[in-house]
Amino acid sequence: MDLRFTDEELAFRDEVREFFRTALPGSIRRKMIEGHHPSKDDLVTWSRILNAKGWAVPHWPVKWGGTGWSPVKQYIFRDELQQAPAPEPLAFGVSMVGPVIYTFGNEDQKRRFLPRIANLDDWWCQGFSEPGAGSDLASLKTTAKREGDHYIVNGQKTWTTLAQHADWIFCLVRTDSAVKKQEGISFLLIDMKAPGITVRPIQTIDGGHEVNEVFLDDVRVPVENLVGQENKGWDYAKFLLGNERVGIARIGISKARLKRVRELASLERIGDIPLIEIPRFREKLAAVEVELKALEMTQLRVVAAESRREKGKPDPASSILKIKGSEIQQATTELLMEVVGPFAMPYHPEEEGRNEPTDGPDWASTAAPTYFNWRKISIYGGSNEIQKNIIAKAILGF
């Protein structure tokens, strides 16, 4: 047992860190530090910089653009990216549908979609949740009926993140309603330009527009867009959600945010005393740092065990990463709100090209929206309560 990074891993970390320092455009870095959402253009620009370097999809098979890095190096890369802080590549493509396609898709699908995902030529969104199918995802009702060479898809998806930018949507659809609910689901790739698709924005409590409703009315989907076998979609969805949980701890993001909290808390003063020197505040901050260090070690334990695990079977311990990772991310946003104090109050919805000065320190305006927005983290990707069910069943054997 040796829990330190090897010299090779340390050299790799320095290489990656240096690349992020020089290759990430300053304007994007500034947005990220200040807690603004990167725009679509920002994400495309950054994804193409990564892809040109050959680092857009490190975890993919080498044949499709992966790097062949060890799990530890993959972890270091992600951690450094988040701490840069750089935008994360669009998860719906590189972390969700990409792995499903290279694991379960056919050769045509791999050739057609994977390179375009890596270069963010295609913007993907996720069509899983429905108004009546949240935690009980398998009860979804959107149907796909086979008619000749096409499926005819009807239904409604919701909480579809960034569908407003999307070129493609991967959907779970019901292809057999006569069998057990998990056994009649298929995994379809649908062109967002297809007639019959309507996207309606949902504004969230932070004032932002990230999520949408997507309506599908008699949408014709060619059968070659079915991934894997018909009625096996639930297996692919579980595979996808398991992968999602591994990346969901986002330890580097919490590190970067705690660093920011510490910086700003040494500027803010209560009377003559910097906030960071108030024992109550700094102990609260230290307590979150302890939890984060523990989670980082837990993440590394999961990562180190990864190479020994059967492929496609995520470690049930990854549920810990989801639960603690989300709780810690949320705790960091609470701390930032506290630092900002009264200047959490002014409401400035984020608009492209907005130019007016903010009221209060210019770093204060994102604190409250981020706090409100990040309540989503313990809800999405399988709510934390569902994760506790998974631990109880898969690990404790209830």
Partner: protein, 382 residues
Amino acid sequence: MDFDLSEEQRLLKDSVDRLMADRYDFESRQRYAKEPEGWSRALWSAYAELGLLALPFDEAHGGFGGGPVETMTIMEAFGRSLALEPYLATVILGGGLLQHGGSEEQKSTYLPQIALGDLRLAFAHTERQSRYDLFDVGTTAQRDGGSFVLNGQKSVVLHGDSADKILVTARVAGSRRDRDGIGLFLVDANAPGVSRRGYPTQDRQRAAEVTLESVRVDAESVIGNPEGALPVVEKVTDIAIAALAAEAIGAMDEMLKLTVDYLKTRKQFNATIGSFQVLQHRSSEMFIALEQGRSMAMFAAMMAQEQNPEERRKAISAAKVQIGRSGRFVGQQAVQLHGGVGMTMEYKVGHLFKRVTMIDTLFGDADHHLSKLAETGGLIAA
């Protein structure tokens, strides 16, 4: 980065686990507690035979050159079985102070005796007023020619009642809360002027109040620089905290196992109570607290060898915070989920709860270490 045990570490783990499984079930443990010294001489000999008492020492001193990972392996097994023997006091604390602070001559005299099971030690440091501040030493050591004369009183000296020799901190110079001026002395437990009052602790271990009245100590019994012992005391305390973290993990792991087993067998409302989601979720939360604790116990083991003392202290403090919090949660919930059964002296889970509770009070509780960590800038630099 590698979380696996080496082949040798795996063998060590297997042999310790086997010993404890064979000879340290709960009933035996309760019997050992009633022996005259409050622990089992027979097991102490068994530890010596297995080489556990020699583990951390250099080969030159009769040891096996084991590091914190080996110690972690043993302590986790001890925690699971609620071992009562003075391993921490003798090997980790006493042996550690000699190993890291003693002269070559002192090491080659005493460490082989520890390894053979012939010498038991205790570390007398805490005083009535010091709480968890390692630098707060009021006991005095007055120079008298080449020797020293010790006066003062030491509290909660772990296994001080059965020790053959006691390592005592005493102030040679400076005032009570100065970092400099503290000496470390190896005192014969039966030396004139040493009186000991032994007592059981809440977790059925043993401790003693040790009073020193004009105790004369010769120059050969001074450990290291007579005015500069604090760094080695801090270092060995950190090693001990790492060891205790592993012991706490063993105890928590056992509590979770007992609790889950209980929930799967206990029936109420015509169902095993483990079928209720509220109890499943509580168990999942215990699992998370345990695993977060385990991660920090590993981190502590790694950082106990860190060369930079500030980095080491911060990391150990962070681990002690996590262990304290995890231990409290897992312990309280283990008792709660057992219901009345968890409250009885006849059942193991309550004793495990008491042990992790007492571990929190050793060498600084979670709040103490959180405030120290916060004071020294936390874990993530701005």
